[in-house]
């Protein structure tokens, strides 16, 4: 179950944060997203330590905490997508598919000429598409 999705800009400013649970721990999820941004930065800035695939967009599992897993994805413009999920056995391929669709929705939102880069994404269409992607992802993995 995906509980939280975040898009963080290249100066680590939040562009879009959305949680998908009704529980009150939205703040805790935001905090977790904040910490994972640090993990991403550390992986990106140390090319020698992270091995040969430094320019992959999909960063994989960032940090597993008690009952959440956090996945990261970095686009070419240093915009980071962070995903917090409670599923314990998601496949890598599923994650990549999810991020690919999310990236497509993000590109469409940014191509809007009225969108100011660096400001929050306020498009309702983007929010709806993201909700659809999350719902369909939930159905394919638990179904």
């Amino acid at each position: 179950m995906i509980v939280c999705l975040a898009v963080v800009g290249h100066q680590n400013n939040p562009l879009y944060i959305q949680s998908f649970t009704e529980a009150d721990d939205a703040l805790k999820l935001h905090h977790m997203v904040h910490c994972s941004v640090d993990v991403i930065d550390e992986r990106v800035d140390n090319p020698k330590k992270s091995g040969p695939t430094i320019n992959e967009t999909f960063l994989g599992l960032l940090c597993p905490t008690e009952n959440y897993k956090v996945y990261g994805y970095l686009t070419n413009t240093k915009v980071k997508f962070i995903l917090v999920t409670t599923d314990l056995d998601v496949r890598d391929a599923d994650m990549r598919t999810f991020f690919r669709r999310f990236h497509a929705a993000y590109v469409d939102a940014v191509s809007n000429p009225f969108h100011v880069p660096g400001k929050k994404i306020t498009s309702k269409t983007f929010a709806e598409r993201v909700a659809t992607i999350v719902k369909s992802f939930g159905l394919t993995t638990t179904g």
């Binding site: 320019n55 992959e56 686009t75 413009t77």
Partner: protein, 194 residues
């Protein structure tokens, strides 16, 4: 009626299926739009430098979006971290998507380490434009320079990009060169990456 051939049985034009459309825009439509853009900006400014800056800003916004779109569509899972990588990406992929062909040449500057040049015999945006003598060295290719700057800045390679006319012996119209001068930090990072 004899020999009419296949007629789709749609009486109402609204019932016909939507076509996917071509992925191209007509050159004349773009030329008109671009000329309006230049004319509009000309009424707003007092001098050439300001006009160039405005065209560049317009191109910058285009460059940022083009980078996002192309990286998602064409590059799949790779990010460009090397200088030559991003330059060849601009020179081939970006040019192909925007202008329908790859740029004519990509050269490294001889005088300075941080200068690179992309040249084109005739920039598409300049095809129907002639600069009056009193405007001096103004080049509407500043729009394209802005696009390149947008792509480079958002990919993490800050640079100063300008467009220049370079007269060539055999031709009547001068060649256009986009001069890219990278910031200090880009060269340092490049040196560190080896």
């Amino acid at each position: 009626m004899i020999g009419v051939g296949k007629i789709k049985p749609y009486t109402n034009v609204l019932d016909r299926p939507l076509s996917k459309g071509k992925q191209e825009v007509s050159l004349s439509a773009f030329a008109f739009l671009f000329s309006e853009l230049v004319q509009y900006n000309q009424t707003q400014v007092d001098n050439i430098a300001e006009l160039e800056r405005r065209l560049e800003d317009a191109g910058y916004a285009v460059g940022a979006r083009v980078l996002e779109l192309l990286c998602h569509r064409e590059k799949g899972n790779r990010r460009e971290t090397r200088l030559l990588g991003i330059l060849s990406f601009i020179h081939s992929t970006v040019w192909k998507v925007l202008f329908g062909k790859v740029a004519d040449s990509l050269e490294k500057g001889t005088e300075h380490e941080d200068e690179y040049m992309i040249s084109e015999k005739e920039l598409l945006v300049n095809r129907f434009i002639s600069i009056p003598k009193d405007m001096g060295a103004f080049n509407c290719g500043a729009f394209v320079a802005g696009i390149v700057k947008g792509v480079l800045d958002n990919a993490g390679f800050p640079a100063v990009v300008t467009a220049h006319f370079v007269p060539v012996d055999g031709q009547q119209r001068p060649r256009t060169t986009i001069l890219i001068k990278f910031a200090e930090e880009v060269l340092q990072r490049e040196a560190r990456l080896g």
